[in-house]
Assembly symmetry: C2
Homo-oligomer: 217 residues x 2
């Protein structure tokens, strides 16, 4: 089993601006990547970060290979399907780098789910993670990709399963998502967020994050 | 086992205004309640809707009792804990009426999870569902209720477990949540939404819903 973690090292998390500055978005994206890799580590798998630009990882992840590849995500993943599923006849697992709530248990549920294609929906009909066990499957990560992936799997006669996990369905793209990472996220992400933010409990609305007076810049 | 489904029949889903008019919010809230009851039906449980005002249910749910009780949610649930857990020595399950994505399988995972208190977080650190098996537990549904409930359970020496389910963690409170109900929701909710809305795939942002030209009023 091979796990690919796509990472945008160039201009990560643009939809968190202007809530977070560019340096903050970069730092948070790396914290979330670290938390994802720490959880992926518990799987018995070869792990590869495919980054839009070269990126250094914590020495803890020395065994993880990093490939710089600035092509669109569809091309990267389709090539990985060809390499892994067609040629090596192993399952390919794709886990997005911003799943700050991922845990070993949630990822174990993902890879233990049978099916030619196993999908984890993201918020807004996106796709946050998938397992591909048939070489005929092609990805399309634009727009309502969960629906597109479900259709693409059906079109090639593949069986499709969905994994029901709040932890894996929560990607951190928009300011409102930061609350989930603050409350339920991995250690690296939570440490970074709690140094800078606190919960803001507004009457009648959902809880959000607010800058902590005297918090880390 | 007793399942309580609290329902706001008075002015439901205020945070969906102005995206939906008052009549629409009322209709959608009833559709979601129907989907929740249909999924709850698969559990071997006594089911009760506790509504802020009298509400009629589909004849399909003739076996579900409806109680009108306009007290705050904390008082309603704490009384249900006393009746069910302390007196009848049965587990009490609370499932919010806006969990349009709930399925029998997701609810089965909830009630099969061991623990004195079992929590399902909602978006923004809320609480979407819980199982109470200790009479000492008191609820507090305001603000970051997931954190408060976890603390309240610890304070009385209760074991706490969390259920990791996208379907149960997705409550439909804000316009952005409607996409999840549109894509993954139960039949009643999806039928109502698809007659009025379509997916709006905006470049670079999350997918949202837009009024369908010629859709049902």
């Amino acid at each position: 089993m091979r796990v690919v973690v796509p990472f945008d090292a160039t201009n990560p998390k643009t939809r968190l601006a202007p809530f977070l500055g560019a340096d903050e978005r970069d730092a948070l994206a790396r914290r979330m990547l670290g938390d994802v890799l720490a959880s992926v580590d518990a799987l018995d798998a070869t792990v590869e970060v495919v980054s839009t630009a070269p990126v250094g990882l914590d020495p803890l992840f020395d065994h993880v290979s990093v490939t710089a590849d600035d092509r669109p995500l569809d091309a990267v993943v389709d090539d990985a399907v060809a390499d892994t599923v067609r040629r090596a006849r192993e399952p390919l697992v794709v886990v997005m780098a911003d799943l700050a709530l991922a845990t070993p248990a949630a990822l174990a549920r993902l890879v233990d789910t049978e099916g030619d294609v196993v999908l984890v929906p993201g918020r807004g009909a996106g796709t946050n993670a998938l397992v591909v066990r048939t070489p005929a499957f092609r990805t399309d990560f634009h727009g309502a990709s969960f629906l597109d992936h479900r259709r693409a799997a059906s079109d090639v006669g593949a069986t499709v399963e969905m994994v029901d996990s709040f932890r894996l369905s929560t990607d951190v793209d928009e300011p409102a998502d930061l609350v989930e990472a603050f409350v339920h996220g991995g250690d690296r992400t939570r440490e970074w967020l709690t140094a800078r933010f606190e919960l803001d409990v507004e009457r009648g609305g959902r809880v959000s994050l607010a800058r902590r007076p005297g918090g880390t810049d």
